[in-house]
């Protein structure tokens, strides 16, 4: 036992003290934040300033509405509560401080043909006086067809934005023509707020369970993240003695099983430490730094204590299930890279079970949901999904846990057998028949 502790301690201390750990702990959340925020920032970033549009209004009465719609489109959309087009979303300050469009009328001297004006506008766009021009034909209100001429047709976002705002302007104009106040129509189209309440086993209607999907998916994602971050570390740790040619010396002192478990537990503690640091930092930030901001927006759904216990049990099960697969792979291969390649199907399995959570949470009592929540590789995610959605019978939860932890034990046993032989083999990867033979020989 003291030897197992010595191995765990070495594994833990060496890894936590390493510069990589410090760097990953500090930079990890920043990188993740960057991944979440930067793309949105980039998308919303309009490098060229507002689009200068000339409007050739052949109807002679639409210009004012179109100009207002284009220039103040964002306000109106917010007022309407309608979904924003993709191009308009993002970090634009509320109130539309920076306009997307600068609109100018094209005055058509009487007698001049529209075609002539277009040729002239083409030239203006080409020279850069305008970025685009819009042609509203005389029958635009009836047909709903307008034309836009742009220098850069690749800017699909802008074209869609113009289309959307032009549509709003035309609709308002048509309504006005019918004698209806567009503002009243907008008011009548207000959104419905549907508040769904869950009927639990006790029959009490409560707000709980709103975050069900989030919770189930969150746990699944957490397992996924942990394995993604630490699976390779476990692999590396197991292969380490092979690479340093130390296994022979260590095996003369401790059982291969002890060494292997020490490594698994040591690395797991490192992962736990890292997550604890992140969680602590997150709490501090929410409490002090952005406290006011976060309090308003983030409110965790109330979760029953039993759900927390189950979530922990299933998280540990999922983590150790996938970790022991990495352990087994590590015992088979010569280098961590080689193991990483072998681990690809494992990652695939993990992602699949994450997706499985969706149909399961939609019909948690279907036979499909029951089966996938009993299969150990998908159970950690799908069973939690079922528990938060609609608690399954206790025996199913118990069975799922038993099967899962049983599989973990089986994999550990298998890994230990393969490890014992594999660690003393240098130079080549164990083939599958060899692994089977080693496992049998014992």
């Amino acid at each position: 036992m003291s030897r197992l502790l010595a191995i765990i301690k070495r594994e833990y201390v060496q890894r936590v003290r390493a510069r990589m750990f410090v760097v990953a702990t500090v930079l990890g959340p920043l990188i993740m934040l960057a991944f979440a925020v930067v793309p949105a920032l980039i998308f919303s970033f309009n490098a060229g300033g507002p689009l200068r549009v000339a409007v050739l209004d052949e109807t002679g009465r639409l210009y004012a509405r179109v100009r207002d719609a284009l220039q103040n489109g964002a306000d109106e959309a917010a007022e309407r509560g309608a979904a924003q087009p993709a191009g308009g979303a993002g970090a634009r300050p509320a109130g539309g401080g920076a306009a997307d469009f600068v609109v100018s009328p094209v005055v058509l001297p009487s007698g001049r043909a529209a075609e002539e004006a277009k040729a002239e506008l083409d030239e203006l766009v080409r020279r850069g006086t305008f970025d685009a021009y819009l042609v509203l034909p005389r029958d635009v209100l009836a047909t709903g067809r307008a034309e836009m001429y742009v220098r850069n047709l690749g800017d699909e976002f802008t074209v869609r934005q113009v289309q959307e705002r032009l549509g709003a302007a035309l609709r308002d104009e048509r309504l006005a023509a019918e004698g209806i106040d567009p503002a009243r129509v907008r008011a009548a189209g207000g959104r419905v707020t549907l508040s769904a309440r869950k009927i639990g086993a006790g029959g009490a209607a409560a707000g709980a369970g709103r975050g069900s999907f989030g919770l189930a998916f969150g746990i699944g994602f957490f397992i996924y993240l942990t394995i993604l971050l630490y699976g390779q570390v476990i692999l590396g740790a197991v292969v380490e003695e092979k690479a340093t040619r130390l296994s022979e010396l260590l095996f003369s002192a401790v059982k291969p099983f002890t060494l292997m478990m020490g490594k698994l537990l040591g690395v797991s503690l490192v992962a736990l430490t890292q997550f604890a640091i992140w969680a602590g930092a997150f709490l501090l930030v929410t409490l002090y730094g952005a406290g006011a901001l976060a309090a308003g927006r983030i409110s965790l759904p109330p979760v029953a204590p039993s759900v927390v216990v189950y979530a922990c049990l299933f998280f540990l099960m999922g983590y150790f299930l996938y970790a022991t697969i990495y352990l087994l792979l590590g015992a088979m291969v010569q280098t961590a890279q080689e193991g990483g390649q072998l681990a690809l199907p494992v990652v695939f399995m993990l992602v699949m079970s994450l997706y499985l959570a969706v149909p399961v949470i939609r019909s948690p009592t279907s036979p499909f949901a029951v089966w996938v929540s009993l299969v150990p590789f998908s159970a950690p995610i799908t069973m939690v999904a079922r528990i938060v959605a609609e608690p399954p019978p206790a025996w199913q939860i118990a069975l799922s846990l038993a099967v899962g932890y049983g599989t973990v034990a089986l994999l550990v046993w298998l890994a230990a057998r393969v490890y014992r032989v594999g660690m003393l083999m240098y130079g080549k990867r164990a083939s599958l028949p060899e692994v089977v033979r080693w496992a049998r020989r014992g």
Partner: protein, 304 residues
């Protein structure tokens, strides 16, 4: 030989890997306080034998007993092992690393620290205690590995090719350390294919070739039993005596010396007396022992 004198005994030990017999029916006794040479060419089965002794693999057949008792994990803690496959944790500090190995061998923290200090000083590596292992030269690393093997004060020390890759100065340091341990009553098994080293250090040997023991016993007995009764002779006259086939089997003449092989059952002293009696001037008369190397080569080529 009294039982208490035997540190390690192997009786009829065999081990196969699939079809391949790595060790077959090996029996040997290692006596306490002596240096035992486990000799043989590469691939003969030395490492497999050692792995069975230290408990990394188990024999398919046969019995291994240590200090008169069947091998148990507790007994294994009294063995120190320097494997041929050398390795250390590269990023770990030397002292830290040794204390870890000490802990794996059952030493508590303080004892491990004390032993580490003592042995690093003994190996003139004290200044490197807090350095990372990959900053050390190869020779230094090898000394650290040796320290890892002796740290827990084992009663039986198994060294697999301990001198390979060492410079002469380090070789000497290591040799002295080994002799010192022997003087302190430790039993040492030296596995090597370098016969010169074995000849200088070992009191007993066991030669294995192709998984089988081909020769064993004390070095003296082996040489005597194996002696081809060769005599290096530098003499003038006495040619008639050398021609006597009852006494001399063959004579190989070099420039001014002859290598005389005695006839079976003939006595060297009788030959000397006859030569002197025949009036020969004897300048050199020396019974030559075959070197371990000669024996090794002859026996190994006989088995293959």
């Amino acid at each position: 030989m009294a039982q208490s004198d035997v540190t390690l005994e192997l009786a009829g030990v065999s081990k196969s890997f699939d079809e391949f017999a790595a060790v077959s029916d090996l029996s040997l006794q290692v006596r306490r306080g002596r240096i035992f040479g486990l000799l043989g060419p590469n691939g003969a089965g030395k490492t497999t034998t050692i792995r069975m002794i230290v408990g990394i693999t188990t024999p398919d057949a046969g019995r291994i007993s240590l200090f008169g008792r069947p091998l148990t994990p507790e007994l294994r803690d009294r063995i120190g092992y320097l494997p041929e496959e050398r390795g250390l944790y590269k990023k770990m500090k030397v002292g830290e690393q040794l204390r870890f190995f000490g802990a794996l061998k059952g030493l508590d923290g303080r004892a491990a620290a004390r032993a580490t200090d003592h042995w690093l000083e003994r190996m003139q590596l004290s200044d490197w205690q807090t350095k990372k292992t990959d900053e050390l030269s190869k020779g230094m690393q090898q000394k650290v590995q040796f320290v890892a093997a002796v740290l827990h004060d084992p009663d039986l020390l198994i060294l697999d090719e301990p001198f390979s890759g060492l410079d002469p100065v380090s070789t000497e340091t290591l040799r002295n350390a080994i002799l010192e341990l022997q003087a302190a009553g430790k039993t040492i098994i030296l596995s090597t294919h370098l016969m010169e080293q074995a000849e200088k250090l070992c009191a007993d040997i066991c030669l294995i070739s192709r998984a089988r023991k081909v020769l064993g016993g004390s070095l003296r007995e082996v040489k005597r039993g194996y002696g081809r009764n060769l005599i290096a002779l530098r003499a003038e006259g006495g040619d008639g005596v050398l021609a006597d086939s009852a006494l001399v089997a063959a004579v190989k003449r070099h420039s001014d010396e002859a290598e005389v092989e005695l006839a079976p059952g003939a006595d060297a002293q009788e030959l000397l007396r006859r030569l002197v009696a025949a009036g020969a001037t004897v300048n050199r008369f020396e019974q030559i022992e075959p070197s371990l190397n000669d024996i090794f080569i002859e026996r190994v080529s006989a088995t293959s």
